[in-house]
Symmetry: C2
Subunit: 697 residues, 2 copies
Amino acid sequence: MTWVDPLDRGRFPADEWALLEVSGPDSPARENHAQTLFNVANGYLGIRPGSGLTFINGFHETYRIRHAENAYALARVGQVMVPVPDGTCFEVTVAGVPLRDCELVSRTRRLDFRDGELIQDEVWRLPDGLEIQIRQTWLACLSRPGLAVTTLQVDAGGAPVEIAGPLRVGFAPAESPEAGDPRQAELPIDGGLELIDDAGPLAAYRCRNSRLAVVVGRRDTATAARLTRYLSYATTPFGPDGVADGLAVTLDEDLAGLKAECARTLAAAPDLAGLRAEQRAWLAAFWERGDVRVELDSPSKQLAIQQAIRFELFQLAQATAAPGEQGIPAKGLSGSGYSGHYFWDEELFILPFLTYSDPGRARQVLRFRHRMLGAAKRRAAELELAGALYPWRTINGEEASAYFPAGTAQYHISADVAYAVQQYVNATGDRGFLADGGAEILAETARMWADLGFWGDDGSFHIHGVTGPDEYSALVDDNYYTNAMARHNLRSAISAWQALGDAGELQEWRRIADAMHLGFDERRGVHPQDAQFLHREPWPAQEQRRPLLLHYHPLVIYRHQVVKQADVVLALHLLSHEFTAAEKRADFAYYDPLTTGDSTLSAATQAIIAAEVGAAELAERYFEQALFVDLADLHHNTADGVHLASAGGVWLALVAGFAGMRDSDGEIRFDPHLPPGWKSLMFSLTVGGEPTQYVFT
Amino acid sequence: MTWVDPLDRGRFPADEWALLEVSGPDSPARENHAQTLFNVANGYLGIRPGSGLTFINGFHETYRIRHAENAYALARVGQVMVPVPDGTCFEVTVAGVPLRDCELVSRTRRLDFRDGELIQDEVWRLPDGLEIQIRQTWLACLSRPGLAVTTLQVDAGGAPVEIAGPLRVGFAPAESPEAGDPRQAELPIDGGLELIDDAGPLAAYRCRNSRLAVVVGRRDTATAARLTRYLSYATTPFGPDGVADGLAVTLDEDLAGLKAECARTLAAAPDLAGLRAEQRAWLAAFWERGDVRVELDSPSKQLAIQQAIRFELFQLAQATAAPGEQGIPAKGLSGSGYSGHYFWDEELFILPFLTYSDPGRARQVLRFRHRMLGAAKRRAAELELAGALYPWRTINGEEASAYFPAGTAQYHISADVAYAVQQYVNATGDRGFLADGGAEILAETARMWADLGFWGDDGSFHIHGVTGPDEYSALVDDNYYTNAMARHNLRSAISAWQALGDAGELQEWRRIADAMHLGFDERRGVHPQDAQFLHREPWPAQEQRRPLLLHYHPLVIYRHQVVKQADVVLALHLLSHEFTAAEKRADFAYYDPLTTGDSTLSAATQAIIAAEVGAAELAERYFEQALFVDLADLHHNTADGVHLASAGGVWLALVAGFAGMRDSDGEIRFDPHLPPGWKSLMFSLTVGGEPTQYVFT
């Protein structure tokens, strides 16, 4: 089968260490796609170059969720990451003519994965025919969270040039958080930023509802036609532990502190050459730990694949670089999709990369989950449950999912968090983390499972009325993935509390774990996704509109045997040691044809299991679906931001798929299955504190 | 067991032909309750005396339903019955003092079920100690839909009296249709009535969104301290056939027509004595056909029960009197609860009374359902279904349920409509109605079922992903009630189309009906409510907050074996001949203890089956729960309007419960089970066009 490069190489020339784009005047859609691809971010702040949109991780507005029909304990507080004032858009005037009245002739962008700086060159034609050249650069300092630098250079052949660079507040409240695609963020009409004060180089803003404040500092140095701007940001330390709640009282001190922090960041910044050197050093260390290198028979395919892998890893770096206890939004800081919320993407798709390449960062993300435990316990109580129930989607720790059948009903998120805790402890040997919150997460989530489920007449422990990872089924009984992950959660808690726990409680967890209902359909020889699934009607073959969620009423989707994303198949990966090879083959053979892959979380998992069961070509096809999802805009919504879980999934597909790494029993093992035409695969894993390089051929 | 009268007879003196209330100054809650009880209505218009709220059946505003999280084909057009301008509230000034500055000393109301006129006497005390007497009467003409009359007489002992009576527009848009109790109507913020013109005695208003217009006519005749006001209303003929859609164009002619109609209604009205005579004549005929008389051992209990029965029957009369093809709102025209929507209440709880006492009216209601068929076919297509799917709740024919798991998912409404068609045809012998729309309803709904379900591996026909009558389970498989009613629907369609239908389609319907999956649990010896129900966890005994829907998250409710309202037990009644006596006993014994009765539709059905299985005392207890639901405000929300389905249920509990009438096989049979202490039960049924009197002792 001939390989077809998914990218238009006229527009995106291949380069194994950079993303390049060569274009003329673009359509808005292409430009929105490019703004995502070329985002520059450092885990704390992210800029979509040219859009006027800068985001800060966790900086959010709140609003009351209005339910068209209310019910008890539905999620009440909507949260949405709102853009902070952007200082990277300039208004250029040449010979008295504003640039917006000129014609864009060409534009090239280059984002080097080792430099971590975006360079954009444009040629504009004035009404009188004069062509001018403009270069702008953007750098989000990977080792200085609050700092970004942009430069602008205009070559107008001696014509007079004026440059203005006001702050832009990109917040545009939408009429309602409803229209169209539920995956897009929309902003509440009654919220947003308001300017508090604008004193010289420091401007302070505050969200009307959440009361979170942001201070923006600017320092410009300019010569005739060249401007260098340092931008610094400081935001109210918010958090699931409720720090922001006290804000109304302490607002003045808060602001003074943020201003001082902002000024310090500017004052401490070295010159541009120094910042560039820091950036390169940070990335050199990142690639040393995290690079994945491939060799293929085909040089052109190798170049395309290698570039795309590095692009994806670079996105992971940009979304997670900043130190500190914070979450990782589903789109990183590259766009407003999914409202900047934290989902299970964080624990199951992004954290494995950090756990095995930068475990200190993984620990901080898990610490952030621990800070959410109070909110998760309150949420459990609202649902009449003991222990803690993590919200399906959140920024501030409160459940923000407005549609509970595919939100709160995904109880499995609590087991996913527990899984990540256990995986981190296994990989690092950092048992100190258990005392530092990890064991508490394991116990509180275990308590939730023990209370949620019940003992059936058959003597087994059942968990009913849940939604599994596959959102094309809802409110089902004994979802296999959920039950199996809950059992893993209980066993992790038992192991962590062995010495210190209450003996009666440990005994109860053990009884439940041992009796957890995990179905097996003898006739079909597969694990049923849930108690109902195998009895449903097959999806009508002629109904091909994709994704289903944008073309069919949920009632139509729910009653059919159709899968949005890996569900049982995800269990085959995460709980690998609980299945025989034959079971994996049978389950994959059954579920793979039913899986639409309408979620971008699906392809990587399908790739991993396809590789394991020997479906090598299929594995590679799924891998490429994950690898090019953003570069080739395969789901037509990269404009909303990078699919960061898919980026983590690319790493997983390489490491767990092609190299066949498994760690679900606490040991690292490999069972490599390189795709046809792949000569070698190289990466490092940090286990027990030490990086080790692996090469598979 | 001593009988305890549920009513405070100090406040509500007993009278077998009237509702009386004696009170002093009331709390607002008691007053709101009383305004519902003393509503005067004629099926077209309804007045809540003293509240400034007048409603017209089907007169509604529309608004866009905003879903907190959107999905494909969710209901889009919200509909809400909005009050029309009310002309029955007067501003009285005595000796220069407005009445609102005086003290209410006492108030008595009397609504005679044979007169159909409400009389209210009040005593007010002026600041100077003078006591004045005010009598107001209200009469909604049962034989003249657009006409109401109110009189006001002030006896101020010779002090000068001024009376003003402006129209009041009671529309108060709510901030959102969300807060609190989902059963209450809230009005959209962006809609409402606007005055178009106010020329002398005729004033015209229009709803901003729905474009429906209402013209109000007034004619006052006054003497010194007595005013008689005739009010006439005319509204845009709206309807599910889309008449209202053309309004924007034809508004001027439309208005002219409404004004002329309004003027004609006023001009044609006889004097008050004449109207009162008409009213009494109408009611005499009503009671002749529809009265139910009881004799009990205990005279005081007999009086209380007889009064309450007549109150309930009188509410049915008031909600259904007007001729013409229209629906019956869940609260009649007595309040704004459930937004004035039509539900299955209409077909299964209210229509049986009409079918067996005033079949011409039943026919018109079913004709109205037929006019909704176009919208129901469009809705089916939106859900990828052939045929017609009736909306769960609607005024204009479009689905208005904003929460699909307990709305659109209740597919059974289509079978309920078909059941009512079949019941009407059986009872009346009016096969002409089949040609006049009835057969088309049967065929289109049968087509929907054939497409919704599928053939399982077991050779049976299954219907998955539905919600049955019990809203405390959602999105279940093979709900017994739904499958059994769908089979009845298919068989009714086969019977109607025997001669004319497509042979292939009839054959398919027959195969499906014969293979319909109707479960039976051998171990428990009961019919499972659905495929999952019997496997769910029992409801925790300590969780006693009621109604569950206001105290527990839906996820908590859905995963337990707990029932909001009769589900399997309703099938035992409606499809009586499909069950053995032993099955009925077993099913009732199983489900009755699980049934919270949080829906007022439940008690009557439980009463019917309790009577049949010989649980006589329980049957009477359920009967009284239905009988006094509004008089004693047992569900604490009669302020929102009369529970009209419960009123129909009272009639059913008497006729189908205590007299044991069954007609589900097309024949009328009786199997009387009078409660202990009941000496006789008398009523008439109109079957085959002729009324017959029945007496059970």
